[in-house]
Structure formats: C-alpha cells, structure tokens
C-alpha cells in the first residue's frame, strides 16, 4: 500500500469514529433512547431532552474541531500538507 492509500485509510478510520459519536449523541441519546434517559435529570433538564436540545449541538461543535485537529496531524504524519 502506498503512502496516499495509508493516509486515506487513516482518514476514513477517523471519520467513522467521529460519525459514530455524531450518531450516538443525536440519534441515540436524543431520539432512540430519549425516554429511558429522561428518567435521569441534569439539573432541571431531563437528560434525553437535554441531549436533543443542547448536548448534541455542543458535541457536534467539539467533534468538528477534534476532526480538524486530528486531520492536520495526519497531513503532517503522511507528509501531504499543503505548501
């Protein structure tokens, strides 16, 4: 496997990891398991409701920055950075 292929594989692994978290907080905690999570409370928020209206959005923001940071590392590691 050449360098570009290895870089692409590492990239795909990272994206899949990020998208699992993306799916888990929104579709998982915010929709599929919302009823179960609502039994727990976070301050005045039922937890499932909090994920649907607050938590998932905060996680999305964090995810994009983590992705951007890890991708920059990969760019350097595989030496494919822009000039």
């Amino acid at each position: 496997m050449n360098n570009a292929q290895k870089y692409w594989q590492a990239n795909i692994r990272l994206v899949i990891g990020c998208l699992i978290v993306w799916f888990f907080v929104s579709f998982g905690c915010g929709i599929l398991f919302v009823k179960q999570l609502n039994a727990i409370s976070l301050g005045g928020y039922p937890l499932g409701f909090w994920f649907a209206q607050q938590g998932s959005i905060y996680t999305f923001v964090a995810l994009i920055f983590i992705y951007a940071w890890r991708m920059n590392q990969l760019d350097r590691k595989f030496n494919v950075e822009e000039a």
Binding site: G44, V61, I64
Partner: protein
C-alpha cells in the same frame, strides 16, 4: 411618530448604511472574486459569514415558535440544522475546496465527466435556492411592515434594492463581508432579549443554563418541570415529552442533516477559504456561531410559552378569577392583534380568555367556518364539530364552563417578535430585533442569489452555451443573472404561489436526495461512474418530489393531492418533509446498482478522485 418608531428607523437605517459602506469597499473585480471571494477569506470570518448565510428568517423568527409549540418534537430542527455541519466538515468541504473550482454543479459535471450530470445539478440547485429565497423576501417584507409600519410591498422592494446594490456589486466578496456584519447584528438581536427574559424568570443570565434552572418566583420548582405541569393541566401533552412517532422524528432529523450538507449556497462558502485545512476548521467555526443561536432558541421557546400561558392563565385553572379579563389585555396583545398574528374569541361569553387544549374542538370549528364560507362539505365538517363537542363535554374543562380554546390564533413567529414587549424590555431592544430579523433574511437571500447567479453564468452560459466568453463578459453575465434572480424572487415574494410556507421541505428534500449523495459518492467511491450518478440523482429527485406532491398536491396545489396530508395516510408514518433521507437512500442504491453493471470511469477521473483526497497541491483558484 412614536419614540419606538424613531429608534427603530435609526437602528435599522444604521445597519443599512453599514452594509452599503462594506459593499463599496469590497467590490468584486473579476470572476474569482465574484464567485468565491478570491479564495482569501480567513476561516473564522468565513465561519461567521456562513452562520449568517445559513441562519435565515426561519431560524431567526420562526424556530423558537416551533419549539414553543412543538416542545421536544421540534428538537429535530435543532439537531438537523446543526448536525449537517459535521457531515459537511468531514465528508464534503475539504475535498471540494481541494478541487478548487467555483460551483457545485461544476464539480459534479467534471467528476462524472458529463454535461448531463452538471445540468441535473444546476436544475436541483436553482429549484432549491429559488424556493428558499422566496421565503427570505417575504421575511424582509414582514419585518418592515410589522416594525416600521411600511406596507409589505414597499418593504419587500426596499429589501430587493438593498440586496441588489451589495450583492450585484460585491459578488461573493461583498456578500461575505456584509454577512459578517449581519451576523453580529442578528446574534445581538437574538441573545439580548433572551438574556433579559432568562434573568426575569430564573435569575440566571445565561439562557442555556436558565432553561435548566429553578424559577425565581420562589416555589423552588425547575422551569421545565413547571412548564410541563402547567401545559398538562391545560390539556396539552407535556412539553418535554415525545408526541410524534420515533421513526418520523428520526427521518426528519436525518433529512435535515443531509439536506443542510447538500445545500449549494452553504457548500460554496467553503470554496472561499485559502486552504484545505481552513475548510475543515471553518466548518467548526461556522457551527460555533450557529450554535450560539441554536442553543439559545430552546430557552426562548420554552420561556415564551410559559410567559404566554401566565399572561392568559393568571390564577388557578378553573377558578372564577383564574383567567385574563378581555378588557385587561396587556398592550403587547393589542399591538399584535392588529397584525393578525394573534387572535381570540370569547366562546363562552364570560368576558375572560381561556387558552387550553380542547382536543381538536376549535380546529373543527374553524374548519366548519371555512367550509361554510368557501362552500365546502358543511355536513361532514358539522359532524366533526359535533363529535369534538361530545368529547369536550366529558373533559374537566367543560365543568369549568369553558367552551373551547379561545386563543384562536397564536402564530409561531410571535414568540420571537413579541418577546421583548412581553418581557417589557426597552425600545432599543425591540428596534434591535427588527434589525436582526432583516439582517437574517438579507444575508441568506444574498447567499442564495449568488448560488443561483453563478449556476447560470458559470455552469450554463460559460460551459454549455457560449463557451468562449472572456472573464469580463462572464462577470457581467453573473451580475445580470443576479439582477434577474432578484427580480424573479421579488416577484414571487409579492405574488406568493400559495406554497411559500411549504417550500422548505422541498428545498431540503432536493438537496438531501440529489445533491448530497452525488457529491459524497464523487469523493468516496472511486468506481462511481456517470451513468450511476445520473440515474441515482434522478431516482432520488423523482421519488422525493413524487412523495411530497402526493400528499401536498402537484406544485403544492392542494386539490391535486392524491392522499390527505395526515400521519394516518403517510407511508409508514413518514411525513413529506422527512422523506429526503429515504430519497437519499434510493439515490445511493440506484447509483451503486447501475454503476456496477456499467463501465468503470476513465483513468483520468480515477486520478482526479485520488488527487482531491490529499490536501497537497491545492493551489489558488484555477481557471480553465
């Protein structure tokens, strides 16, 4: 003129002067600047511009109202309209930036080595963007007429004039820097009233925390707990509880996410940054700026609902003195009744207003009145009223002498527009909300118009019709196309074709079912060929439009609908607005099937795919 009017004119006029100043300073000199701002926009600033580009009149004015009335179920909009940025950042933006051209159809045409593919993309782009821009034009007219008492038509024409000046002159460069200013205006306008209201209700100045805090009225109850209790006591379902089907909420969220990532006017914004890595971080910054509004909206919605109920239900439910007397209505109710966004009817003649859920009685009554007026099926409508009345007679509310919900009209938009007045905030805050609403509508309209004009001048004219035009002529063509698009959008805003309210479902459905899958497969599936991509796009497009028209009527003419637009008749309970995700699945499935039995794409296309996957070698804007 009242003090409030003068303040509003000053604040709104001031923001317009600012937009013009920026437009003059940042005129586009060539097509590169006109289409993609010369690819020199700082990622944080591009994030801010994307925020303004993205947050439309619907986000600013309507979303909090949807949350206030829908409660938990409206979370689909919050997650959908933010989660799409993850897909954009990880699956599309960096690669499309690496490709380094000007428009979305251009990438599709080149990657699938087919002018047909490019044409299909252009058609999707124009339908999606044009339907979307009508809503913005209407939003501008509404903001002018409500706050400045200028007739709707005049307001709309003023809005058209302003967009005309700075978008035609400045192109993407001018639009970008104006959008940055518009973001600042709109975010202040949104958060300042929210902070005040959160302080009043919970003592916590941060709305995101206020929503999870206890009420400052001293009972020690959490705000959401209190809201849940009072809406349930009034017969509504609990605010934080789920009402719709899980499948439909799931698919609506997914459709909005994929649609967000596939909307061309948003994608194009990521063509303006200098480097691939800037495209990645810029998506993050865009979401930061969007999240400030989107995490505030749930607080605005819940608190506005509570304030509205407390205004009408002044005491214990069912007690003689528990409801607002008609002659004691606060000033803000009088103001907004004039606009037709708020209305009541004293059904039981007790001189007081009751706001509660009567289990569909008032809806049946309204349908009956409409049938009597328009000559519809009066017998059937009467039967429904009778059934609802029988059911209502058994409820506890009948025992109070209530005869149906008397708040006959509470428009969603009122939750944001009237919020500062409900909370008795100073005039400058109300003026700021007016300027913010106009900024939200203008910035989105400009972004959409730019996407339309570049599709016409770059994808249709330059690549298909008159191939030999030089840069100067193309720039002029872009400006003329933009002017034309403004006129068409303004005309449709003035003569709304009935379906203006529904078109958002169409815009997101198209973006989700045709554009997003084509872009994603273009980057991630090297084997995808032109036959597969074209068949996939058409299958996604046709299935989604058919499903929407099936329930909404052909071109949204309700009488041509094949089935009633109700949860019972939807396929598997999937609403037309949620179908985009299914359309996208159909697109992927058809594309893979067709491409697996047809020839692999030529060698140079496979090299192109390999090339966009690595950041190295991305240059400045390439012309061809």
């Amino acid at each position: 003129m009242t003090d409030l009017m003068i303040t509003t004119y000053l604040v709104v006029g001031g923001t317009f002067a600012l937009y013009f100043y920026i437009a003059l300073k940042t005129r586009a000199k060539n097509t590169g600047e006109f289409y993609v701002a010369g690819k020199g926009v700082h990622p944080v600033l591009n994030g801010m511009a994307t925020g303004a580009d993205w947050m439309s009149a619907a986000s600013f004015i309507s979303m909090a109202g949807m949350l206030a009335m829908g409660g938990y179920d409206a979370s689909a909009y919050l997650m959908g309209w933010t989660g799409g940025y993850c897909l954009l950042a990880m699956l599309l933006a960096p690669y499309l930036r690496k490709y380094g051209k000007f428009t979305v159809p251009e990438f599709i045409g080149d990657r699938f080595y087919s002018q047909t593919a490019r044409l299909v993309a252009v058609i999707c782009l124009i339908i999606a963007s044009l339907t979307y821009v009508i809503g913005q034009m209407k939003g501008i007219g509404v903001a002018f007429s409500r706050f400045m008492e200028i007739p709707f038509e005049t307001g709309l024409l003023i809005g058209m004039g302003i967009v005309f000046v700075y978008a035609v002159l400045g192109g993407m460069k001018g639009v970008t820097y104006t959008q940055i200013a518009q973001y600042v205006v709109l975010i202040f306008a949104y958060t300042v009233p929210a902070v005040f209201i959160s302080l009043q209700l919970t003592g916590n100045p941060i709305p995101q925390l206020g929503l999870g805090s206890t009420m400052s009225s001293g009972e020690g109850m959490y705000l959401l707990e209190k809201l849940d209790k009072i809406v349930v006591d009034l017969g509504f379902s609990a605010y934080t509880a789920q009402k719709g089907s899980t499948l439909n909420i799931f698919l609506l969220t997914m459709s909005l996410m994929i649609g967000t990532a596939g909307l061309p006017h948003v994608i194009t914004r990521f063509f303006t940054v200098p480097k691939v890595k800037d495209a990645r971080s810029s998506a993050g910054w865009a979401l930061v700026f969007i999240a400030i509004l989107y995490t505030t909206a749930p607080s605005v919605g819940a608190m506005a609902r509570l304030n509205l109920i407390n205004t009408v239900q002044t005491g214990e439910i069912g007690s003689a003195e528990g409801n607002l007397a008609i002659e004691e209505r606060p000033q803000w109710m009088l103001n907004w009744e004039k606009t037709g966004l708020l209305g009541f009817e004293d059904k039981n003649g007790d001189g007081k207003i009751q706001y509660y859920s009567d289990n569909g009685l008032s809806e049946a009554q309204a349908n009956l009145a409409a049938a009597q007026k328009a000559g519809g099926d009066v017998t059937a409508a009467q039967a429904k009223v009778d059934a609802a009345e029988t059911k209502h007679a058994e409820s506890k509310f009948a025992g109070f002498g209530w005869k149906g919900n008397e708040m006959t009209k509470v428009d969603n938009d009122i939750m944001v527009l009237a919020n500062p007045e409900i909370a008795k905030l100073p005039n400058w805050v109300i003026a700021l909300v007016a300027a913010g609403g106009i900024a939200a509508a203008l910035s989105t309209a400009a972004g959409l118009l730019l996407a339309i004009s570049s599709a016409i001048s770059h994808d249709l004219l330059k690549s298909m019709i008159t191939k030999n035009i030089d840069d100067k002529t193309e720039l002029l063509a872009g400006r003329i196309a933009m002017a034309g698009a403004i006129i068409v959008a303004g005309y449709l805003g003035l003569n709304p074709p009935g379906f203006a309210a529904q078109v958002v479902a169409l815009a997101f459905g198209l973006a989700a079912s045709s554009i997003f899958p084509a872009l994603m497969m273009g980057i991630f599936v090297k084997r995808m060929n032109s036959a597969g991509a074209i068949c996939g796009m058409l299958a996604g497009l046709v299935s989604t439009i058919t499903y929407i028209f099936w329930f909404k009527g052909f071109m949204f003419i309700a009488t041509t609908a094949m089935a009633p637009d109700t949860a019972a008749s939807w396929w598997l309970g999937i609403s037309p607005g949620s179908f985009g995700a299914v359309g996208a699945l159909i697109n992927f499935a058809v594309a893979f099937a067709v491409s697996s039995i047809t020839k692999a794409p030529p060698e140079h296309i496979q090299h192109l795919v390999e090339d966009i996957r690595v950041p190295m070698g991305a240059g400045a804007a390439q012309s061809h």
